[in-house]
Each structure stands twice: as C-alpha cells, then as structure tokens.
Amino acid sequence: MNHTLDLVTRVRGVRGAMLVSADDGLVVAEQLMEGIKGSAVAALAASLAGRLRRAMEAAGLGASVFWHLQADQGTLLVVPAASGMLVVAVAEPDVNIGLVRLELLRAGEAIA
C-alpha cells in the first residue's frame, strides 16, 4: 500500500497521499505531511466523493474517474479506484495537476 502511495507523493508539490475507504470514509493507508488531519480529511473526501458520484450519475455522466477541489492555497485530488477505495492527494496550488492525476490513476489501478 505504501509503495502505491509513493507513486503519488514523489510528485513535486504533493504534500501527502491517502487510501480511503469510499463507503465509510476511514483511512486505509496514509503518507501525510505533519499537521494534516488524515482521518477528518478522509471522512470529508469520502462524503464529497459520494455527493459527486450521485450527482454525476443523475446527470448521465457515468462514474467519476477523477476529481479535484481547487482552493486558494492548495488542492485536493481524488481518484475513485475499482476496489471501492479512494486514492487521495493533497498538493500545493501550483502542482502539476496532470502529472498527479496520472499517478493517482496508476495507484488506483495498482490497488484494484
């Protein structure tokens, strides 16, 4: 699991990564910088993922493949994996989103 997260955290600008159970919002594995409350972030990320999934299905857009929350001082990036887990990354605002997305997708495939 930690090797999977390494794929993500080695990207420059990524502050940490987690595997989260999408159903209950619990942390399965984490590599986070100090000061980030993993369990709380996991719960909120899972909740947000659930809302988005339902909205996207209602809109006929199919299952979510990747999403990211942009904020003034950073970004949260998430890939829902086939295993029912979410691969989550927390990153700096100027991170290469495309690169993190690719690594999150690779990580998601690795744990499927």
Partner: protein, 280 residues
Amino acid sequence: MAEDVRALSAQLAQDPQSLVFLRLSEALRRKGQLDQALRVALNGLERHPHLADAHDLYARVLTDKHDYERAFDEWDMALRIAPNHTGALKGLAFLYFKVGDLQQAESHLELAQRIEPDDPSIQQAVAMVRGGAAPPPPSASASPPVPTPAVHTEVEAAPLLDESRVFAGLEGAQEGLVLLDAAGRVLGGALRNPAGADVTDAVAAYLAGVSQEAARTAKLLGLGAWTGLSAEGKHGNVHVSHPSKDALLLVVRDRGVPLGRLAILAQRATAMARRWLEKQ
C-alpha cells in the same frame, strides 16, 4: 477548386506573411477540409492577430466544426477590432439564434443591415429571424475577403451580452449550465443528460450542500477558500464553482471538452452569473 487550393498554397508558401491565407482557408472550408482550413486560419491569425477578417474566418471554420464557444469568442474579438464588421455581426446573430436569443440575433442583424443596407443576404437573414427561422450559417462573400485595416490602438469595448437570461450567449445555456442557490433551488440554466432528458432538479438536489462540504474540507486541510471543483466522468466532465457565497454554478460538458478548457468556460459563466446575481 483543387487548382485554386494548390495555387493559393503555393502563393502562401512563397510569402507566408501575405493575406492569401484568408482565401486559402476559405477555399479549404468550402471543400469541407475543415482541419486544414482551421490550421491555415490559425497560422494566419498568429501572424495577423489584429486582422478582423482573420478572426471572422477562424470563427466560420470553428462554426462549421460546431465549436460554437470559440467561434463566439472569435467573432467577439473581430468586433472589438472592427465594430462594423458585418461578417462578425452576422456570425454572432447566428450563434444567438442557436441559443434561442432571438432579440440579440435580430439586433445584431439590424446593425449589420444599417452598415450594409444593400446586402441581400442580411435582408434575408433578418426576415428569417423575424419569421422564427434560423438565419443561414455565416459564409464569406463570393469575392475574396477584403482585409479590414489593423487596429493597434486602444481596443473598443465589445457589445454587452443580454444578461436578462443568466447565461445568454454561452453555448449549452439550456442544457449544460445550471445556477443553484444554497438549498439546491434552480436559479437559471438547465441540464440535460446525454439522452436529452431534463435532469436539472435531480442533479441540483444532489449538489445542494457541496459548497459547505467543499469549504469544510478546504478549511480542514488549511487550503484557504475553495474556488472550484472539477470532476471527470466516464461520459462527461463537470465543473462546480460558487459565484457568490450562497450560489453554486455547475457546468457540464461531454468528454470532448477537457477539464482545463471546461474550467475556462466555467470562469466565464461564473463571471456572468456573479453579475446577474448582483442585479437581483
């Protein structure tokens, strides 16, 4: 026509700075070779960014490719450079008609008619719009386009969009854009799924509360205020933003519109929604 293209290509190759690209791209467009027409127009535009006819031409090719958002931007730019450019006025009228804004379509055509009162194509288009029929897609005159003098001085203000409807002028205003209040009530726009069914209310209900949750998540992570939420689905992409503290704007497009471009479109829609909300 094939000879024309070859001859024009040769001329352009000899003098890449010339305005032959206008005729070459138009010839390719008329032959239906849209990708080549687009490439020629774009190359010409890079060399002549202040030429209104180049923006008009590029917009016409984009329209043929059904890329109406970018076509709108190009015609808008052509009008900023040359406010009396009838090609751009006709093009914008066509796009306004497509989004159901007959008033704007007619007013653009009327302006074009005042500039060129003897142009039968404009007279015909005005009559068609007044009769509820779509004006013909804009096309270049049979004669080679006459370049409009380049304007390098201060850019004139573009005509303001009719904002009595929140997203007037934006493609997908009635099928891929929706503005919600904090309780998930629809303020404007509409959403349709790929089968064409109206899913506005269902999506609105699921999205109510996203704003608070996004704000809590960003705060907990020390990320400051959230500015947007982008999601990639198997059949389409979506961008959520909040034009005001209590409102939520959702922009949905198919997967052909990448997330980065969707974010740009969403920025434009967010600005329009913000202005509209401020007037309420």
